[in-house]
Subunit: 147 residues, 2 copies
DNA sequence: ACCACTTCAGTTGTGCACAACTAGATTGCG
DNA sequence: CGCAATCTAGTTGTGCACAACTGAAGTGGT
């Protein structure tokens, strides 16, 4: 930091800027796969289950239906997932990866490792960072009325 | 973390989630002041200078004119800043806080401290987090073609 | 002086984030 | 049972993030 802008003292701003920088790091590879970063994290969760409801996906990603509905609609249009109303409870929509969607998994499998290397962080740094970020997130979530 | 979603291993996702959680923590106070979080960080930089160009503001915030132009337009409409074309170099637009805009500064002055307390982080944690986030951001920015 | 190159802010189009709301399905209490 | 409260996903509207582009203004080489 060369100039005293005051921003560098704000953890909040560092989080905001670092998050966008990381997303930018993922962008080229994800663009090649035809998806965006939020779509990628949603797919990661979907890939791990035979099916998942919009609600549970939202709980994991901390996103509401206002964000997820259009995002999932786009994934469905691309043929990467299917959406089906539940028969027992017609309120819930079950999401499943299509074969085409599952195929994408292989294409982006090594991304996190490749990009983590680019950050020049030691394993210890990653652990520390992960611990602190989790604490910040849960503390912020607790105090907030949102979600 | 109760379930193995795979996301919790992703520094990238933790950054993304923590950043949104922090923004949510700021939201109620900023909403009371009539501004959004990105407008707040932009104003913090503007408050520290008698004037600043859109370009320099963008360099500090890591945002391009595509994001800043409409954001600054809204701040101008609210009467918080003025925008004036330079006389020597007519390409640059100089931004200045209005008295009304400067008055807002007092209203949100204690925000970072109040909210930092809510996170239950020690001074050491904050320093560690800040250092790691800065490293992540600069590393990501270096590898990226963006900006 | 000429002109290709660069710089700056702004516009357009797409997609995300979130508040506020809607509509239908389900639940549970009296 | 009847019906109000709750829960689900989706829609609408606002504002941010970013790619791609525009147009005007400045710059440098010849």
């Amino acid at each position: 930091m060369q100039e005293p802008t005051g921003l560098e003292q704000l953890i909040c701003f560092e989080l905001y800027a670092a998050s966008r920088a990381m997303t930018g790091l993922y962008r080229p590879a994800l663009e090649a796969a035809g998806i965006t970063y939020p779509q990628y994290v949603a797919l990661r969760v979907i890939w791990q289950r035979t099916r998942i409801s919009v609600r549970e996906l939202g709980t994991i990603l901390q996103l509401d239906s206002g964000t997820l509905s259009p995002l999932l609609k786009r994934l469905e249009t691309q043929g990467l997932i299917t959406r089906r109303r539940g028969t027992d409870d017609e309120r819930v929509v079950w999401i499943t990866a299509t074969p085409q969607g599952s195929a994408l998994q292989a294409q982006v499998a090594d991304l996190p490792q490749r990009l983590a290397c680019a950050l020049d962080l030691t394993a210890e740094d990653v652990t520390t960072l992960h611990t602190l970020l989790t604490r910040v997130r849960s503390a912020a979530a607790t105090k907030s009325t949102t979600l």
